[in-house]
Assembly symmetry: C2
Homo-oligomer: 339 residues x 2
C-alpha cells in the first residue's frame, strides 16, 4: 500500500508555547504541477479534524482550484492524525502529553514546507474552510508580502468568545466520559466521542437546515436519530480523542495577533493583511456569524465581505456537502483568481 | 420553617404515555387575591428547571403582573423538584423510573388545580418563558374558551427539530458521565452536570451577547471562565439529574397537537387558539428563533408577533436577568391586559 500523501520532516520545531517537537512531521498532498516560474501556487490548509482528502471536494478540472492550472498544496494541520499528533508522536510527547500547538505554529511550519521543500516564494491564493480559514488569515497576517489573494470561508481570524464557549461544551462532553481518563485511555472513550458528536450536531447545521429537514430530504438519512448516529457519531467515533482535543485547543486559541509580530493588537494584524481578500462567512453559520467577518473586513485594507447565501449553517463552506454552496464558493474563487 | 408555596394533591393522574402517578402533587404559589367574581386570574407556568420563585421577577407592584390587581398562580412543572418529580416521588416511580410526562399532562394537571382548587372558570392571561411558553400555548389550544389572552415568550408551541438536537447535546453531555449510572446515581453526577452546563452556555446567550462581553460588563463576572463556572455550572450543580432529564424529555416532546384533540395536526391546533396572543420570541434566541414564532403566528387567528429587541439570546425572556428586556416584556403584557 502506498500513501496518497507525502511527509516533510521539519526536524526540531520550537512551538510558540514553549515545547519542542523533535522530528516534527508535516503531512501534505499536492495537486497539479509547479510551474517553472513557481507562480501558480495555491495553499489550502485543513479544518478541524479534517485530513487532506477532506479538502479535495473543492479541487478538480474546471474548478477554480484546477490542477491543470495550479499547483495546490494541502498541508495537514498538526494534531490531525497525519501531521505530528498525539496519536502518532513517540514518547515522551505522545498522547495526553502532546504539546499545545497554535495556528501560528501551524502556519510557520507550512511556510517552511512551502519554502524549504519547494522553493516557493510567491503564492497566488491561500484558502480554507473553518480552521482552514483561521490558518488562511494567519498566512495573510504573517506573510503579507507573499501572496496575491486569500479566501477564508466560514472561519475567523480570531476565535470569538462565543465560539470559545461552544467549544467548551464540545470538550466538556468528551471529557465527562471517565473512559477518557485525562487522555490516557487504553481504548477509545466511546461515550464521550458520541456525546461530543451530539453536542456538535446542533451547531454544525442551522435552525433553518433542520426546519427544512435537509438531513432527510437532501442528505437522505432515514430519521433525525439516524442523522445523529450515522452522520454525527459516525464522524467522530473513528477519530482520536487527544487529536481532537489538541486541535480544539488550537482553535480556541486562534488569533492572528497573538504573536511577537502584533503583540495582541488584533486590528493591527488585520490591517497588515495586504492580499486581496474575499472573506466568505456562511449566512447561517452559528459559530462564525457574519458579524465577526464584518469586523474583520472593516479592518482589512483590501477585503470584501461575501456571505454565502445558504441555510446549511457552517456546512455552507464544506466539505462539499451541498453542491449549490460549492458552486457559489467555486465561482467566487474563480473571480478572485482572475482579478 | 414554613414553605412559601402550597401543594395540591391531584390523586391518581393517568399520564398521556400510559403510566399513572398516584398521589401526584402539584406545587404552586399564588400572589394577590382572587376577586369575588373570579375574573382576575393569571396563570404563569415555570420553565426548564425553574421553580416558582424563579418566576417572581415579572411580578410586582406597578408591573403588569401586579398582585394588587390580579390573582397570579404559578404552577410548578412536574419534574421540577417541587411538583411530583423523580427526586421526590416514592418507590416504585422514583428516580430513573419516574414516568414520561408531557406538556399536555402538565397543563391538564394545572387545569385541575385552577378549577378544582379555586373554582376558576375564566382566565385573563396565561404567560410564560421558554417551557413556560410551551405550556402557555398548550393552555391556549387545550382550553381555547377559557382565557382572554396568552403571552408566550421565548418559547414555542412545538419543539423544533433543531431545538430537539440542541437538547440531545445537553442530555448526552450529562449521560456521558459514568456516575450518572442510568439514573441510579448514589451521589450527584458532578462531571456530567458541569458538562451539560458548559454545553448550555453557548446556547443560552447569543453570539452578540458574548461579543459585547455582557457576562463581564453587565453581569459582573470576572472572566469568561468565571461566568462558565459561577453562573453556568453553579446553576446546574444543585439540580437533580433525573429531574433535569424528565423535564428535558417533556421539552423535546412538547407539541400542542400531540393529543387526542388534534391528532398531530399542528396547524389545526394553532388555529384553535382563540385567545388574543402576543407571541414574543427573543430576536437573538438561538433555540427559539423568530422564524418558528412567525409560523405559529401565521397560523393563529388572533396573534401578533412581537420580537424582543435584545442581544441577550434566550435570556431576553428571563429570568429577569436584563432589566431592559423585563421592562419591554412588562410593557407588552400591560398593553395586552388592557386590550
Amino acid at each position: 500500500m502506498s500513501l496518497d500523501y507525502e511527509i516533510h520532516d521539519l526536524g526540531e520545531v520550537v512551538l510558540q508555547r514553549g515545547a519542542t517537537l523533535r522530528g516534527c512531521k508535516m503531512a501534505y498532498k499536492t495537486f497539479g504541477t509547479l510551474s517553472p516560474a513557481k507562480d501558480n501556487v495555491i495553499v489550502y490548509p485543513t479544518w478541524y479534524s479534517g485530513q487532506h482528502y477532506d479538502n479535495e471536494w473543492l479541487i478538480g478540472p474546471g474548478r477554480a482550484l484546477d490542477p491543470a492550472k495550479y499547483f495546490i498544496i494541502i498541508p495537514n494541520m498538526l494534531g490531525n492524525g497525519l501531521s505530528s499528533s498525539p496519536s502518532n508522536t513517540p514518547e515522551p510527547y505522545n498522547a495526553a502529553r502532546f504539546p499545545l500547538v497554535t495556528a501560528y505554529d501551524n502556519v510557520r511550519a507550512q511556510h517552511r514546507l512551502v519554502t524549504e521543500k519547494f522553493g516557493i516564494e510567491h503564492i497566488r491564493l491561500v484558502t480554507g474552510w473553518s480552521m482552514g480559514a483561521l490558518q488562511t488569515f494567519h498566512w495573510g497576517a504573517l506573510y503579507p508580502d507573499m501572496m496575491d489573494t486569500i479566501a477564508p470561508f466560514c472561519g475567523s481570524a480570531k476565535c470569538s468568545r462565543h465560539n470559545f464557549v461552544f467549544l467548551e461544551g464540545v470538550k466538556a462532553a468528551l471529557q465527562a466520559d471517565a473512559a477518557w481518563d485525562n487522555g490516557w485511555y487504553k481504548s477509545k472513550p466511546e461515550k464521550g466521542l458520541r456525546a461530543m458528536a451530539r453536542v456538535y450536531a446542533g451547531w454544525g447545521f442551522s435552525q433553518d437546515f433542520y426546519r427544512a429537514e435537509l438531513d432527510l430530504k437532501t442528505l437522505g438519512y432515514s430519521s433525525l436519530e439516524d442523522f445523529l448516529v450515522a452522520f454525527w457519531e459516525g464522524f467522530f467515533l473513528p477519530k482520536d480523542a487527544n487529536n481532537l482535543l489538541t486541535m480544539l485547543w488550537t482553535w480556541q486559541n486562534g488569533d492572528i495577533s497573538a504573536n511577537e509580530v502584533y503583540g495582541g493588537d488584533f486590528k493591527k494584524a488585520l490591517g497588515a493583511i495586504k492580499a486581496k481578500a474575499y472573506v466568505m462567512p456562511g449566512q447561517t453559520d452559528l459559530y462564525f456569524p457574519v458579524a465577526d467577518s464584518e469586523f474583520e473586513v472593516a479592518n482589512m485594507p483590501n477585503a470584501e465581505l461575501i456571505p454565502v447565501p445558504s441555510i446549511w449553517g457552517h456546512f455552507a463552506g464544506g466539505p462539499g456537502t451541498n453542491p449549490v454552496d460549492v458552486d457559489f464558493l467555486d465561482g467566487k474563487l474563480k473571480e478572485l483568481l482572475a482579478s
